[in-house]
């Protein structure tokens, strides 16, 4: 025991040295840039780390401005980091904001985000014109938005994504289906599922324990059945969730579940679990985002996949898929080096850099006209950009408590615990309560 304490004592006396001489552990081949020309950028993208570092090095050699990348992962840890840093005004020059549009709006309202319209519109809108319009929508606020943010562009997208149905061509062939002619309507889809199940495969897999995926699937049907206006009206509180159109949405999920479309355990699968299962060719269909192509190929280079839009359930409106900017960055308005930060992001979203980034990270560039750089499998997602929408860009957002009740309700439909009608009623009950709460709050602030 004595020896232990003595050795601990010796160790403790080394402590000050180690604390001060942190430099002894500094990484090699570090760029020794002029501090006044160094810009710090925070991100959480461990899989893009190398590519971004390489681009930053190139930019430094070209301009003398060094963009120092610091990575904080996983994204939950990153999120805490930026919230804590916002509290203490210690955000870096460039950073990404995760979370909902409301979180984004809060950062803007607290003065942490530089408005980029004047830069984007320079030289006859040269910068703005490069992007997919849907990508810019994700980083903009429209006038009259419910958050009270001044309308404009507040971020720079570096890639785009969208979420669609992916199918396994090999399984299709085994089940006697034509891989060149995938199902388009719900009935065709259900028939295809029946065929693949007969061939010994599961139907559709997805990461439905992550609320956004199940939310997205239902939202796509709603978009097809009732269209944007009615969805917005629902969020505003003018249309109840017990409306026949919404019941139809819930019923489609119910019908799919009863027809055995979903893979076993789909409601507790994380998206990574689901990706793993699809890559192992256990399921004929997956509902997932464009990034998944890369993930599947990484785990199973032989997999052959095709991409389809959500099954058509109505002729009333065109089909739609969720999408927009995948990764995007904001510039810190409180930094005196924001100018340098903007210039770097502008460079990063020039076609040349975008093509490189897309190739190295197998993503879809945020700027248009890079078709040749997009791998064959991703083309289906690229063409899907025409159908892209996102409720996040609606002028009115659904209350997060209602969204949760909606998503959890869908899980209960899939497990067979509740019927479509029950869930519709429950969600509406929650909606009514939240509306009432909002009304009370407004009355309080008014009086």
């Amino acid at each position: 025991m004595k020896r232990l304490i003595i050795s601990a004592g010796i160790f403790m006396s080394f402590l000050p040295f180690l604390l001060i001489s942190g430099c002894s552990l500094s990484p090699k081949n570090k760029i020794n840039a002029d501090p006044s020309k160094t810009v710090v950028m925070w991100h959480w993208l461990t899989d893009k780390e190398d590519a971004l570092n390489e681009l930053a090095r190139e930019y430094y050699e070209k301009t003398g401005v060094y963009v120092k990348m610091e990575v904080f992962a996983p994204s939950e840890a990153y999120n805490q980091k930026i919230i804590a840093s916002a509290q203490t005004n210690t955000l870096p020059e460039i950073y990404g904001i995760l979370g909902s549009k409301r979180d984004f709006a809060n950062f803007v309202k607290a003065g942490h985000v530089l408005k980029l319209d004047s830069y984007m519109e320079k030289n006859n809108q040269e910068w703005k014109g490069r992007f997919f319009p849907e990508a810019l929508k994700s980083v903009s606020f429209v006038s009259g938005n419910e958050f009270g943010v001044e309308s404009g562009i507040y971020g720079v997208p570096i890639d785009v994504i969208n979420i669609q149905y992916i199918y396994n061509k090999k399984i299709f062939r085994e089940a006697g289906l034509d891989p060149q002619n995938p199902p388009q309507t719900l009935d065709e889809f259900l028939a295809a599922v029946e065929a693949v199940k007969k061939a010994g495969y599961q139907g559709l897999v997805s990461g439905f324990s992550e609320p956004w995926l199940i939310d997205c699937m239902a939202s796509n049907f709603a978009w097809n059945i009732m269209g944007e206006e009615k969805m917005i009206a629902t969020y505003r509180g003018d249309v109840p969730y017990t409306d026949p159109d919404w019941i139809k949405v819930f019923s489609i999920i119910e019908r799919m579940a009863r027809a055995g479309v979903f893979a076993s355990g789909v409601v507790i699968k994380s998206n990574k679990d689901a990706e793993l299962e699809f890559a192992l060719e256990k399921d004929a269909f997956a509902f997932n985002g464009s990034w998944a192509v890369h993930v599947y190929k990484d785990m199973n280079p032989e997999i052959e996949i095709g991409i389809i839009l959500p099954p058509k359930v109505s002729n009333a409106n065109p089909r739609g898929v969720w999408g927009g900017a995948g990764t995007w960055f904001a510039v810190n308005a409180k930094s005196d080096k924001s100018q340098m930060a903007v210039e770097f992001l502008n460079w990063l979203t020039q076609k040349e850099q975008q093509v490189r980034l897309a190739k190295e990270t197998l993503s879809i560039p945020a700027v248009r006209g890079c078709l040749e750089s997009v791998p064959e499998e991703l083309k289906g997602f690229l063409s899907g950009m025409k159908y892209v929408y996102h409720p996040r860009n609606f002028p009115v957002q659904e209350d997060s408590v209602v969204v949760e009740a909606f998503d959890k309700g869908l899980q209960s439909i899939i497990t067979g615990e509740k019927t479509a009608k029950q869930v519709a009623e429950e969600v509406q009950k929650v909606k009514a309560r939240q509306m009432e709460k909002k009304r009370q709050k407004q009355n309080n602030t008014a009086s």
Partner: protein, 284 residues
């Protein structure tokens, strides 16, 4: 007479084999995931979930090398070693001092302070990390090693104090009284009598906190900025992309990460046995 002893021997045999059966069954359930992790580290990205064999035909030992170099483990390993030794040493020192005082010494408001110190273990505070960050910023400790160390010591103390006090309370007082009569100071008794007797409990405190500090990453991400100061779990993040996960390298990295903890377990469990001899000696 003869048959009776046989009966007892048989009974003993049955009891013993039953004990071993239970122990071995539970032990296998604990070992299996560890083995799976290790074996997965020897597979490739493509075979890892396809080939579920307990020993792959082709072992990719180089995965350990890649995990170490790609993850930048050298640096992180040293950092984690440093953080763990410092934090655990401090927790053992501070908690045993405090627990001894709460168990044996008298001073005003003793119970109040005891409850105060261990209550913080019972109130999980969700937003506390962000408040902690604001505090460290005020103290100028953001992105410093000390700023990462001190909160962790504080977080480990309640459990250690609680556990050690329970054990000190159980210890017989006669030895301490004897030492006191021999003219030993309070500090002397704590060091020479109480700590050696509480060795099994100290071993538990060390095991518990080593694991905590060694695996900690949320606080590290929040407080530290430079890669050069980050602990080991940061290295593991390299293999867990937002979308892509390199399972074999991740498992290799995790296997490497787990080894030092198991060494600490092995070292400490000996003290849990030694406690018997120390305890037996006390009685004699």
């Amino acid at each position: 007479m003869m048959s009776e002893s046989l009966f007892y021997r048989l009974q003993r045999f049955v009891k013993l084999s039953l004990s071993y059966l239970v122990l071995t069954a539970v032990a296998l359930s604990c070992l299996f995931p560890l083995w799976w992790m290790f074996v997965s580290a020897l597979k490739t990205k493509i075979s890892v979930f396809k080939d579920m064999s307990l020993w792959p035909a082709q072992q990719h030992w180089e995965n350990f090398y890649y995990a170490w170099t790609k993850g930048g483990f050298g640096q992180y390993f040293l950092n984690s070693l440093f953080y763990t030794v410092v934090v655990v040493t401090a927790i053992v020192l501070f908690s045993s001092l405090a627990a001894y005082a709460f168990s044996r010494l008298e001073f005003p408001f003793k119970n109040f302070f005891y409850i105060l110190l261990i209550a913080s273990m019972m109130i999980p505070i969700p937003g506390a990390f962000i408040a902690l960050f604001v505090l460290l910023k005020m103290l100028g400790l953001v992105n410093t090693r000390i700023g990462y160390i001190l909160p962790q010591i504080n977080m480990g103390l309640p459990f250690a104090i609680f556990l050690l006090k329970t054990f000190f309370d159980k210890l017989p007082r006669d030895l301490e009284d004897a030492a006191r009569i021999d003219g030993c100071s309070r500090l002397g008794i704590w060091l020479h009598v109480a700590l050696p007797l509480a060795r099994p409990a100290l071993a538990v405190v060390i095991i518990f906190n080593t694991l905590m500090v060694w695996n900690e990453y949320l606080l590290a991400m929040l407080i530290l900025q430079d890669k050069a100061k980050m602990p080991l779990p940061r290295g593991l993040m390299v293999f867990q992309g937002v979308h892509l996960v390199d399972y074999p390298l991740l498992m290799a990295g995790m296997t490497i990460t787990v080894v030092p903890v198991i060494i600490v377990y092995l070292l400490m469990q000996r003290h849990i046995i030694k406690g018997i001899t120390a305890g037996a000696l006390t009685g004699q």
